[in-house]
Symmetry: C2
Subunit: 446 residues, 2 copies
Amino acid sequence: MNDIFQYIDTHRDRFIDELCTFLRQPSISAQGVGMTECAELVRRLMSEVGIQARLVPTPGFPVAYGEVPSPGARRTVLIYGHYDVQPPEPLEAWETPPFEPSIRNGRIYARGAGDNKGQMFAHLKAIEAVLGTRGKLPVNVKFCFEGEEEIASKNLPAFVSAHRKLLAADVVYASDGPMHPSGPLVYFGCRGILYLELTAHGARRDLHSGLYGGVAPAPAVRLAQALASLWTSRGKVAVGGFYDRVRRPSVADRSVLGAIPFDERSVRDDLGCLPVTGAGAYYWRLLLQPNLNVAGLTSGYQGPGMKTIIPHVAHAKLDARLVMDQDPDEIEEKIRAHLKRREFGDIEVKRLGAVPPSRTPVDHPLGKAVVRAVEQAWGRRPVIVPNLGGTIPDYLFTQVLGLPSIWVPYAPHDEANHAPNESITLEGFVNGIRSTAAALFELAAT
Amino acid sequence: MNDIFQYIDTHRDRFIDELCTFLRQPSISAQGVGMTECAELVRRLMSEVGIQARLVPTPGFPVAYGEVPSPGARRTVLIYGHYDVQPPEPLEAWETPPFEPSIRNGRIYARGAGDNKGQMFAHLKAIEAVLGTRGKLPVNVKFCFEGEEEIASKNLPAFVSAHRKLLAADVVYASDGPMHPSGPLVYFGCRGILYLELTAHGARRDLHSGLYGGVAPAPAVRLAQALASLWTSRGKVAVGGFYDRVRRPSVADRSVLGAIPFDERSVRDDLGCLPVTGAGAYYWRLLLQPNLNVAGLTSGYQGPGMKTIIPHVAHAKLDARLVMDQDPDEIEEKIRAHLKRREFGDIEVKRLGAVPPSRTPVDHPLGKAVVRAVEQAWGRRPVIVPNLGGTIPDYLFTQVLGLPSIWVPYAPHDEANHAPNESITLEGFVNGIRSTAAALFELAAT
């Protein structure tokens, strides 16, 4: 790989310049800002490194699809990324403007630097480096860069289902999310999510609590009681059957889990409180156990001081993180059944979103290949994590396409994605290019 | 009383004009608008009908104090009212501007028309009518008109405690609140209130529910559990000792309660749902039973759609309506003890307000005198209610001054107090003047 790494070092400054051009182009999917221009720019950036690229329209923003065939290659690698970014607001919190990339302290600061333009651009530069050095790739490569990841990948499921042949491959390789605080990271999937809104209804309007207290229904009380019934006093989910399908960690999972560095003190300093797990169970609870959380509560008066009303309605946002082999539909059904059984059938339940969990075994041979590649790129062994605690559209690859998928973040653990002053380190960007390049060879050889 | 009622009829139109002048003067205590001017206007309106009136400063807005001595009279009546009004917002919801009184459909529409300028002004016109007809009053009368009722009578407790001699009397007579839907009403006190804010704390900031779900504390869950513990599944308050001091209704209470007209259908049509009590227990639950209500819930994300966070804090506003002989301090202590006992000692409890309940017996002889007076004024028997379900500063009279106090609302049941298009009926205003005048004579004779 030395010739390729050499090429990357030689062209490092140009790569950084080109990334800055990419970052300068706004592409805020939630606000529809700059999306057409950015999609076209992505297509051009892909073509410039020798990818046969085209934009595939969707009902929303286009997918930039690309291919680099490598006649005679045994394997095909599908690379995923997204070119849309989060809204940059609050603008006043940025030290330099979000769409004017600024290099300082060994980092590029800009909206999208980490999430996901910097990471996805590293894949393109890896293709350039391999082709520029060797003239051909060791594998066939396909690219699926979507423009809607920040708006919940609205049209990606239909796109993937409709293009199974186009996307056919042996493995998915992707870079999103942050690295571990201790350095490079490889992960193999994600927890899923089920997001519900619970609503308790009362009278047709808010009522004076003196004139109606005791005779009118109290939906905020009712909602609190319904919510409380969902957990035991020890904080376990009390919904019948909630844990039924939770997959037990494999021997490989347990071994990987035990090797993740954990610094309780830095967690405590960051959160301002201790984790609820104690040190030993932290990653087990975060990655391999489901969780049910209240993400929002709204009812009645929320300002300073007193307002004496019986609110006529009360809402809760319920955010469940699901693990293999939980199914969002089944969990929703169990929550509904629980509420009915506990005589909270009057509580309205509305689904706001759902993504199934997804996993590739941590001891998958192609995963081991990727780990070796990252080790070559960084000169150190990456942390291996069974899956993300958060949610990515990984099930489209593992369940719809039936492929193993392996994720290698190139952004630092403190990338501030979705927040002001987002950044990627120059080291992470360059080692990301090296990682993608090395991964193509390791995957080819496995 | 015919000569006095004749005087009132003769001067009816002028009285209405004068009330409109009073209503034109803004006096929004919460916003400090027009308070000095209104206090001075009140003093002048009192003087004009022959009351020896003066403004007594407080740390907030002044009390308008007045006297009409009646040498040789056996009894002294203390009349309470308030000249401040609620903020008029939302202005766009008013059919005519809040401080430009408009007469239509037999009502005067203006902020304060019902609450409380119209009602308190009726007392002044009654004094004028009696003095103008008979030359003297049958009782000594004292007036205590405060300017802070709408901001929780902040300085009235200190004023009353400091002026016991000045306020010495045999009975308090006051007009506030709305009549019964079926017509005139007499009530004898109020439920008290205890208003608490409960807060559950977690990390120092909101957290990504994927990156921390299962390992970070979840204050919104904790708050829901703490709240739910306050009630049984049947909706009774589960706080130990909460009902200990609840006074059993007297024979007179029960008789009065049974005679209150109740139209379940109109309640249902108004609320859009049935009362939780069934028809039989409605007024017992509303007036003679305490209630614990959630007036507000706030935590995390409350907008449309999904936001996947673990909120770092969760708040609830807790509004308890208390009855005789419950004590707000003791109830607060019991709620705190309950939370500690149920292992919710981490929930922060903050008192935002408290007013004790207050009662004068419904069969008090001076109460019967007032009932007779209202019957003369209206030509029909009033509904008698043991006390308001809401809260007024009545305990200052009954507990601090040790006086019986009897309340007769002159505003209609749908006065829209605290809301846009507040009104008083012309009939209620005129019969209010008649009621005050008749009450002075009935109280003198008892």
